[in-house]
Amino acid sequence: MQLFPCPFCGPRDETEFHYGGDAGNVRPDGADVPIDRWANYLYLRGNPKGAAREIWVHMTCGEFFVMERDTLSHKVLSSAELGGEHTI
């Protein structure tokens, strides 16, 4: 079981977290967004082998945050509050 560092609560078991998607997947607003752009936002994922930046939510405190981790070694590289004030 992996240990994820919540920027607010510190290291906790992975079972307390939910995955929230790729970090940096910016939402395009508007009814006239090109359909390819919208489809990419909805469905296209990088699925990198190695370093990945992801959004996670710590269910027990409710905070969403950015975590960098290695999808191959499962090493956690960093985690930071959205907006970046608290960092572990």
């Binding site: 079981m1 992975e14 939402r27 395009p28 009814a31 919208w38 909805l42 905070e63 969403f64």
Partner: protein
């Protein structure tokens, strides 16, 4: 007699405590401290089981977890199948049965299978029973397959404890390496947890001779453990580390021998020392699986720990130095001993009283139900009642490999050793390839802490030491006779050759094709010989062939340990209503709905349930109904941007809502699909209450939080889930207002002050109450929300005052009927993962809204604009017919085939209308009201007429009545 208990010695047994137990119905006598295996051996029981495939007689091979043969089913109320006789303590009255043998291991009636062995090669069953249909043969083959049997007499020993544990250093294995590492870590001021799968610490020191710091090794071991325990370190005997998981979480299973279930430990150490030792390998010779052929180290262990001499005329067969101590010990104990070493040179000094034959190997063993003679590769043959075999040592690197450690092949040790280190894990002792105690201790020095941190001196070996000389003796292709590689799965040299001929040369394919390395022992004795043989056949080196993947668990772990308390009612605990007790007093029948335990109906169990539900739904329309709606979501959205926030989250524009009013709306997912529906209440300028579906509250809450944090910011809105803080009691029906008036809720109920879709504030018994004119039934309704802990008097008051109006308590089943009569949908029941809001008739926001909202762009795709989408409709059936089956498909005919054009989502008998009603999603349904279509269910075809979803009071007059 061949194997027997000798008069003296036995460090593990207590001769003052004799015990008796049964094996295959016969009585076995032993002493406290015996394992089942040591007691069977002391009683000269040679055949302890039958092999998996050929039902060959098999005897005890080892003395520990690696045992492939001696599996027994333990009977009685704590029945456990496939227990290793070598690790299971013998106890008074225990009932043990051999596995895969009927009626007993000695007289197994399927033994004839062995004579057909050449017709049953690897993959025989896969290849043979293909035609005409595997399922024809499956039942008989399944009856023959498998090892132990599950005992129906088993009773649960109770809930297994699960313990989370933290320490600086976890040392796995309490042999010389583990003890030295634990001692060093403790000396460096670190907290230590030391575990061992044996009941007594010491590992090989319990039966191998040696001298540490001037003391006999076993004395040093005892003193070291006592000192660690005295300084507060945790020592767990009878505990197996079965797996290392992500981020070095270690799973331990601790056995107790007092009837308690095992305990599961989840340990998060800062550092792990794997001092897991090594396992002795067999040697390849024909019939090397005969009972009476044991691992040499096991033979020594039984002698020194249990005072059992495994035979009278013993052949010790070896390719390495470690068997010399064994030969010497069994000779000193009185056996006639011949040592056969495949090496011609570089061998240790011949022990006294032992005949040594150098440069020869065993070619075969012979005997009927046990070994009677051996033949060497020069053709010489002599009698033997026991063969003690050492084919070298395989380091126990399972845990290291589970932690993604890579292995490095050592030609000198003829074994895979741990390669590059893994973060936070050190491997020490025999698991790292060390042989002598000096080597073991030298390897421990850096395993624990930074150099120089330790405050205690390293232990020193001061006596004679083991030497590590070995000459590899792998099974060879083309060998004569049946040479067993994997005892537990009946895999021979010929099976591996067959796999190679059929090109299953990858080690993972070899495993699946021949089953080499599978089942309860997971190939602890057989994997390395098997892949070395494959290397020989295919002209590759052993590291080129590689090993299969090591996976947890190292040894079997009871499912009860993993389950812990999560069983029965605690498997998925239900949420409970604050008024559950009151509902029970009213005769409620409870069911789980979306995680909540709620009244399904009141009174009327089993066959009468339908009548009770119909009665509730009918009376609700006649006068007044009381319903507990406490599970309804109450998520507050507060803050300066609360109105912009709800506008973005809802499909419908919500910011135009006036304070004190409510509006029904949809929340969509970003793909446009309807995610939830419900009423939004605006309490004041900056405060809303999201009243979402009961079963959706946590999902909606998470979604609100995500958008709040990701898009709006923490200062813009604040979200608070108040669902369980308040109970919500619903009063609905033509007489709802009259009943509410009797309560004196301190607010005006006039239509002007509290119209439909308005919210007002009053009080009851000194507590603030919120009253919303929101209706799930289509009748005039009042939802009264009050502090959950003060709801009971109000509920009692409502029931008491309701008597004058013939008020009825309704459960969720009646409410479902009332909703369906009005065409009100349930998300996830009347919609699915493709339903868009305009499929439900809500087109306005899609065409008119100019502001952004979740899911907006997805409503304008080609798919969303398709003109043949499934749309929400009502479905009526000819009078006198039964309700449509939910899930039945609307069909159309074309090209001689039937095609679905949608399906029935909800279907009930409406007592108010006196006829069946149904909702469905039907292709282009909104434009087809009045059209009759065919409905198919389980091959039967009936008809239904498409109608508007609302079947009852379509004008909505009753809301205001």
């Amino acid at each position: 007699m061949t194997a027997s208990r000798i008069a003296q010695g036995g460090t593990a047994i207590d001769r003052s405590q004799p015990i008796r137990f049964s094996f295959d119905g016969s009585t076995v006598e032993g002493f406290a401290g015996d394992t089942i295996a040591s007691a069977l051996l002391a009683n000269d029981v040679a055949v302890v089981g039958r092999s998996f495939k050929y039902h060959r007689p098999r005897g005890i091979w080892g003395a520990g977890v690696e045992e492939p043969n001696a599996l027994v089913d333990i009977g009685g109320e704590r029945a456990t199948p496939n227990t290793r006789a070598t690790t299971e303590p013998a106890r008074e009255g225990l009932e043990a049965r051999s596995v895969n043998a009927t009626p007993s291991a000695l007289t197994d009636r399927n033994a004839f299978l062995d004579r057909f062995a050449r017709f049953i090669p690897a993959a025989f069953y896969y290849k043979t029973f293909m035609w005409p249909d595997w399922h024809m043969f499956e039942p008989r083959i399944r009856a023959m397959a498998g090892l132990g049997k599950v005992d129906a007499g088993w009773t649960s020993p109770g809930t297994a404890d699960q313990i989370n544990h933290h320490c600086d250093v976890l040392v796995v294995g309490a042999g010389p390496a583990g003890l030295a590492a634990a001692r060093l870590a403790a000396g460096a001021g670190l907290s230590v947890t030391l575990i061992d799968d044996q009941q007594r610490a010491g590992g090989s020191l319990g039966h191998r001779t040696g001298e540490i710091d001037g003391k006999p090794a076993s004395v040093w071991a005892e003193e070291t453990v006592a000192a660690l325990a005295a300084s507060g370190h945790l020592i767990l005997p009878s505990t197996t580390a079965f797996g290392i998981y992500d981020h070095n979480l270690v799973g331990l299973n601790q056995r107790h021998f007092d009837g308690r279930p095992d305990t599961l430990w989840r340990v998060r150490p800062r550092r792990i020392v794997l001092a897991t030792g090594a396992i002795e390998r067999p040697l390849p010779f024909a019939n090397n699986d005969l009972p009476g052929i044991l691992s040499a180290d096991a033979g020594l262990s039984y002698l020194r720990r249990h005072a059992v001499l495994a035979g009278r005329r013993i052949v010790v067969a070896t390719n390495n130095d470690s068997a010399y101590e064994v030969a010497q010990a069994v000779a000193e104990a009185g056996a006639d001993v011949t040592l056969v070493d495949i090496r011609r040179e570089g061998t240790p000094t011949a022990p006294a009283k032992v005949r040594v034959i150098k440069g020869r190997a065993l070619a075969s063993a012979s005997g009927k139900l046990r070994v009677e003679a051996v033949t060497l590769d020069d053709g010489s043959r002599f009698d033997a009642d026991c063969v003690l075999v050492s084919g070298g040592w395989t380091p126990t690197i399972h845990l290291f490999c589970q932690a993604k450690g890579k292995l490095a092949w050592s030609e000198a040790r003829a074994a895979f050793l741990p390669g590059d280190p893994v973060d936070g894990i050190a491997v020490a002792g025999a698991a790292a390839g060390a042989v002598s105690l000096s080597e073991v201790f030298a390897g421990c020095e850096n395993a624990v802490a930074a150099p120089g941190q330790a405050k205690v001196a390293m232990p020193r070996s001061t006596g004679a030491e083991a030497t590590g000389g070995i000459s590899a003796a792998w099974p060879k292709p083309g060998s004569k006779g049946r040479i067993w590689i994997d005892y537990q799965n009946d895999v021979t040299v010929k099976d591996v050759e067959l796999a190679a001929r059929e090109n299953f040369i990858s080690v993972e394919h070899l495993k699946r094709y021949t089953t080499l390395g599978m089942a309860t022992d997971q190939g602890k004795t057989s994997n390395l010989p098997g892949l070395a043989l494959m290397a020989g056949i295919t002209g590759r080196t052993v590291p080129e062939v590689g090993t299969t993947t090591y996976r947890p668990p190292f040894t079997p772990v009871p499912l009860a340990s993993f389950a812990g308390a999560r069983a029965g009612a605690l498997m998925a605990p239900v949420r409970r209503l604050p008024l559950e007790g009151a509902h029970r007093e009213s005769g409620a029948v409870f069911q789980e709905y979306g995680g909540w335990l709620r009244p399904a109906h009141y009174g009327g169990r089993d066959a009468d349930a339908d009548r009770a539900i119909q009665d509730e739904a009918l009376r609700a329309r006649q006068s007044v109904a009381l319903f507990d709606g406490s599970t309804l979501g109450k998520i507050e959205v507060i803050g300066p941007q609360a109105d912009a926030f709800v506008d973005f989250l809802y499909y419908n524009t919500m910011s135009t809502l006036k304070p004190g009013r409510c509006r029904y709306g949809f929340m969509l997912s970003e793909n446009g699909v309807v995610f939830d529906d419900g009423v939004l209440v605006r309490l004041d300028e900056h405060r809303f209450v999201v009243s979402c579906s009961s079963s959706h509250v946590s999902a909606v809450h998470a979604r609100l939080e995500e958008w709040r944090q990701d898009r709006f910011g923490r200062d813009a809105v604040y979200i608070h889930n108040a669902t369980s803080e308040m109970a919500t009691l619903t009063v609905s029906g033509p007489n709802a207002r009259k009943l509410i008036e009797t309560l004196d809720l301190r607010l005006s109920l006039d239509e002007a002050d509290l119209p439909h879709m308005a919210v007002g504030h009053g009080s009851y018994g000194g507590d603030e109450v919120r009253i919303a004119r929101v209706s799930f039934t289509g009748d005039r309704s009042y939802e009264i929300s009050i502090r959950a802990d003060r709801a009971e008097p109000l509920w009692a008051h409502l029931r008491e005052a309701g008597k004058a109006f013939d008020a009825v308590l309704i459960g969720l089943e009646a409410l479902m009927i009332l909703r369906a009569e009005k065409g009100f949908i349930v998300i996830g029941k009347d919609t699915d993962g493709t339903t868009l809001p305009h499929d439900l008739g809500s087109e306005g926001p899609r065409t008119k809204r100019q502001t952004e909202y979740v899911g907006r762009r997805s409503l304008f795709t080609d798919e969303a604009s398709r003109n043949n989408r499934l749309q929400l409709v009502g479905l009526t059936v000819p009078s006198g017919e039964a309700p449509l089956p939910t899930g039945a498909h609307g069909i159309k005919r074309g090209n001689g085939r039937l095609h679905s054009q949608g399906f029935v989502t909800s279907s009930y008998l409406s007592p108010a209308l006196g006829r069946p009603i149904a909702l469905g999603l039907i292709e282009r349904g909104a434009a087809r009201h009045g059209e009759t279509i065919e409905i198919q269910h389980l091959g039967k075809i009936s008809s239904a007429t498409i109608a508007a979803p609302c079947a009852f009071d379509p004008a909505g007059d009753r809301l205001h009545a």
